[in-house]
Symmetry: C2
Subunit: 201 residues, 2 copies
């Protein structure tokens, strides 16, 4: 019998390096990225069903109202959400589906999807976070201060998460996430078939 | 600040291979074995404080009554128990303390020691367990049947455990246990200092 996968949520403040970490997860270890549904216009080079699922505002609202989205939010006038059907099909296919999302979205998902694993990623300290944000050279100082304040607020939710990974080195962080997933696959409730198999043979 | 260790309980039916697994855990990864207190006579070659802590029946009962044992049981007229002070000192020293114990003992420990990790080890199925017990050639068929019945009873408690590891190959099993411990160290409640450090720097 094929092993079911699981939903893995990765959150962390802007500058925690979560995007890089997610890119470095090895797909051969059974990871799949969640794909968002969005009403934003498709940009050149983007592929529907790979980068995003693109749809109209009406379709989005219909899916939302039919409870087909695990979470949803608005950014700059566009709607974004996580389609439950895609996550479900990947899990049935044995994948650990990675969903990179902010704290608010993560807590929305956990309410609708009980069996998910929440990982919080942080840099070693606020000073390091500031350095990373300044080093990017893409935001003005007001934006950086706003992001740091937001980071401090988000960190208050760490105890809602299952795991905390301090992102010092990318290789070590990826190893930690691999270990978390490996351990999660060993929880008894994910191995009901094996337990029954043991008893019946 | 030094990272605190944790108490790791490994249970599994006779023939599950838990003894071999425990022997194969790499001490350099921060494992330490729990040492039992016993009233049994010291055998030749055994070292007090290494193989066991040896003591008189009176001393044992005193420790038990003063709640200094995490669990205790009687075998063949001798008393055996797990001294809390030794486990505490190893944990303070950053060790993952391994306690190999039966289901009954494990559940006794969990009541007294909230923050422990329970791992249940089983062979792939009862037939394999029977083969292993027969292959040992040390027990008569009545004893083997009794052990198999006991295994079936113990397996009912799997859902009281945090993890289930199917012991197919020793190397893979040891890797699984390493992953479990690595993941457990990443739980937020084991990283309160890092979280405070993040907020204060």
């Amino acid at each position: 019998m094929k092993r079911k996968g699981m939903l893995v949520i990765i959150s962390g403040p802007s500058g925690s390096g979560k995007g890089t970490v997610v890119k470095n997860l090895n797909p051969q270890k059974g990871y799949a990225l969640s794909i968002s549904l969005t009403t934003r216009k498709k940009r050149e080079g983007e592929i529907d069903g790979k980068d995003y699922f693109f749809c109209s505002k009406e379709e989005f609202i219909k899916k939302r109202d039919q409870n087909e989205l695990l979470e949803h939010a608005e950014f700059c006038g566009n709607l974004y959400g996580t389609p439950k059907s895609y996550v479900d099909s990947q899990i049935a296919n044995g994948k650990a589906v990675i969903l990179e999302i902010d704290v608010e979205g993560a807590l929305q998902v956990r309410e609708k999807f009980n069996d998910c694993v929440l990982i919080f990623l942080i840099p070693p300290n606020i000073q390091e976070l500031r350095n990373r944000l300044v080093g990017r050279n893409t935001e003005d100082s007001l934006t950086i201060e706003r992001r740091l304040t937001r980071a401090e607020q988000e960190v208050k939710f760490i105890y809602e998460y299952d795991y905390l990974v301090i992102n010092n080195e990318i290789e070590k962080t990826v190893e930690s996430i691999d270990a978390i997933i490996e351990a999660e696959y060993l929880k008894p409730h994910r191995n009901i078939d094996d337990i029954e198999n043991f008893n019946n043979n």
